[in-house]
């Protein structure tokens, strides 16, 4: 049933697995839609809404971070810029965040391009550190700007809906966004653009040697990712109704996204679908059982264990299971595929 998580390409066996996977995804999506429509537990609807938000953010991160191999700790920068764009437009011009969410995406992408030109020349740890610093820099600007009301933050009046209806609304908004972005990432994975990103991740110099325009590819990936993150931030502002720089640019957002990508399997469209619910549900359970600090310690240990024993995350583990138990034959040679 979980076969879609195994497949990249191959022969008839893979097509069968792919079909099973597709059926599984459609059924899962149907169940979620059904629950969103008839579910009455506000807490669960809220938690699932957050799961979909993080699926969206992690998929967006995945484009440059997972496929392109650029470890980015700056998701919160673009999320915060998106959130503040809709909040400021509402505060000063009375425009609904639902209408201005695309503008939030454009603003975030614009910043992504401006920041990306100098930073995407860096590689490895240097890039990761700079993306982190940029979040703090933008946060300080927002803290001191009058248009954003500095540390006071911006209130957005609640929508005239019951609390349950509100949760339902955001459940479906973030579900829709997560589905669209997952389909986009799936398309990217199977496109020339995705291949170019993988080549950049594997060896950027070698990618240049074969003719990949690595700089352009990285800029496009960054712009697409930040656009999506900005939209998600724009909608998020309406959801929480009060925006301040600490919440909007929280480093936790960046950290959670990287955590989800790594645990799920960076560079796969399935990874965020596995890790986002897993981490958020487990974190919720741990928060109830322990304090939030203990919760972080436990997650740190989990990350260390995964880094040591599952360097390619849950997807890497499932792929190795597939190679062990679901051997298939090369359609051209008829040979059983050797496990790599």
């Amino acid at each position: 049933m979980l076969s879609i998580f195994f497949v990249r390409k191959g022969g008839a066996e893979d097509r069968t697995l792919r079909l099973f996977g597709l059926v599984f995804c459609v059924l899962g999506l149907g169940a979620l839609i059904l629950y969103g429509a008839i579910g009455t537990k506000q807490g669960i609807l809220s938690l699932l809404g957050t799961v979909f938000l993080y699926v969206t953010l992690t998929q967006a991160w995945n484009i440059l971070g997972g496929y392109g191999g650029y470890l980015n700790f700056g998701t919160a920068t673009f999320f915060g810029v998106g959130a503040y764009t809709t909040a400021v437009l509402f505060h000063h011009y009375g425009l609904s965040p639902f209408l201005t969410a695309p503008i939030a995406g454009v603003m975030a992408a614009l910043l992504g391009v401006i920041v990306g030109v100098p930073t995407l020349r860096l590689r490895g740890a240097y890039f990761a550190i700079v993306t982190m610093i940029i979040t703090f820099a933008v946060q300080i600007v927002v803290l001191n700007a009058s248009i954003t009301q500095g540390p006071m933050g911006i209130f957005l009046p609640p929508l005239k809906l019951s609390p349950l209806a509100l949760e339902r609304l955001f459940f479906f908004m973030f579900l829709g966004l997560a589905v669209v972005v997952t389909l986009l990432v799936y398309a990217i994975e199977n496109s020339n653009f995705g291949w170019a990103l993988v080549a950049v991740r594997e060896d950027e110099d070698a990618a240049e040697v074969i003719g990949v325009k690595t700089t352009r590819i990285k800029y496009i990936a960054n712009a697409v990712a930040t656009f999506i993150i900005g939209i998600a931030g724009g909608i998020f502002a309406q959801r929480i109704m009060y925006l301040d720089p600490t919440t909007a640019f929280s480093f936790d957002i960046s950290l959670n996204v990287v955590l989800m990508a790594v645990i799920g399997g960076a560079g796969t469209w399935q990874g965020p679908l596995i890790a986002a619910p897993l981490i958020l549900v487990v974190a919720d359970m741990l928060r109830v059982t322990f304090t939030s600090e203990v919760n972080r310690v436990i997650f740190s240990i989990v990350v260390i264990v995964i880094a040591l024993y599952l360097p390619h995350g849950a997807m890497g583990f499932m792929t190795s299971l597939r190679q062990k138990y679901f051997k298939w034959r090369n359609p051209k040679t008829g040979d059983e595929v050797a496990s790599a």
Binding site: N192, W195, A196, V198, A199, E202, D203, D205, A206, A207, E208, V209, I210, G211, V212, K213, N330, K332, T333, D335, V337, A338, A340
Partner: protein, 243 residues
Amino acid sequence: MTISAPQLQIKGAVAGYTPAQQILKGVDIAAAPGKITVVLGPNGTGKSTLLKLVAGFVKASEGDVLLNGKNLNALPVHERLGEGIGLLPQGRSAFPDLTVEENIELGGWSLRSDRKRLREAVEAMFVRYPHLEKLRDRRAGTLSGGQQRAVEIARMLVSNPSVLLIDEPSVGLSPIVATQVYKELVELRDEGRTILLVDQDVRAAIKISDYVYVLTSGKNDIQGDRTAFEGDLGSIVRGWLGV
């Protein structure tokens, strides 16, 4: 031997990684079509920089790079590859987490808009290198050094370049595998490809060469055809070492 109608020419090239520190200080090289032109020299003399200059990774502050008379100076890397240049960089460059087939397929990046032609080109590489056929689905990072080099050569050839820039092809390989690599270079030459080979293995490089340049301190030192060098390898190397 005088080189007539060279396919690739480097004229008075001055280039380096910073404007203040030029590695190449006015180098002239001419690679004749269908021949192996070897560039030798001590470490740090600019041999690899020369290939990077031709491929477009390094820009010339002075001088020109000409391919069939066309000046390549203003062209970025990918457009130079489109002109028929292939580069085999020094050291391991196969994509380690991708399979052999995926590596070769990526080598045909310039053919990506024509899937059928790309598939044919990839399959032609498996016909050319049958030992890679059985490794088709193996991750390149799990292969031996020699197998990885074969993948890199196949990846370079899949777009059928006419000019090959080869940088230290035998580094890190066992003598037997290195011999096979040099044999392959001769075959590529015999197919009519132009090869500009940069190498530290003086003996092996001269053995397969048609014409040899020696660079010292980023400048042309001596040059001549293979026979002029074959009997005098010892003095060349002693000259580099300054003894």
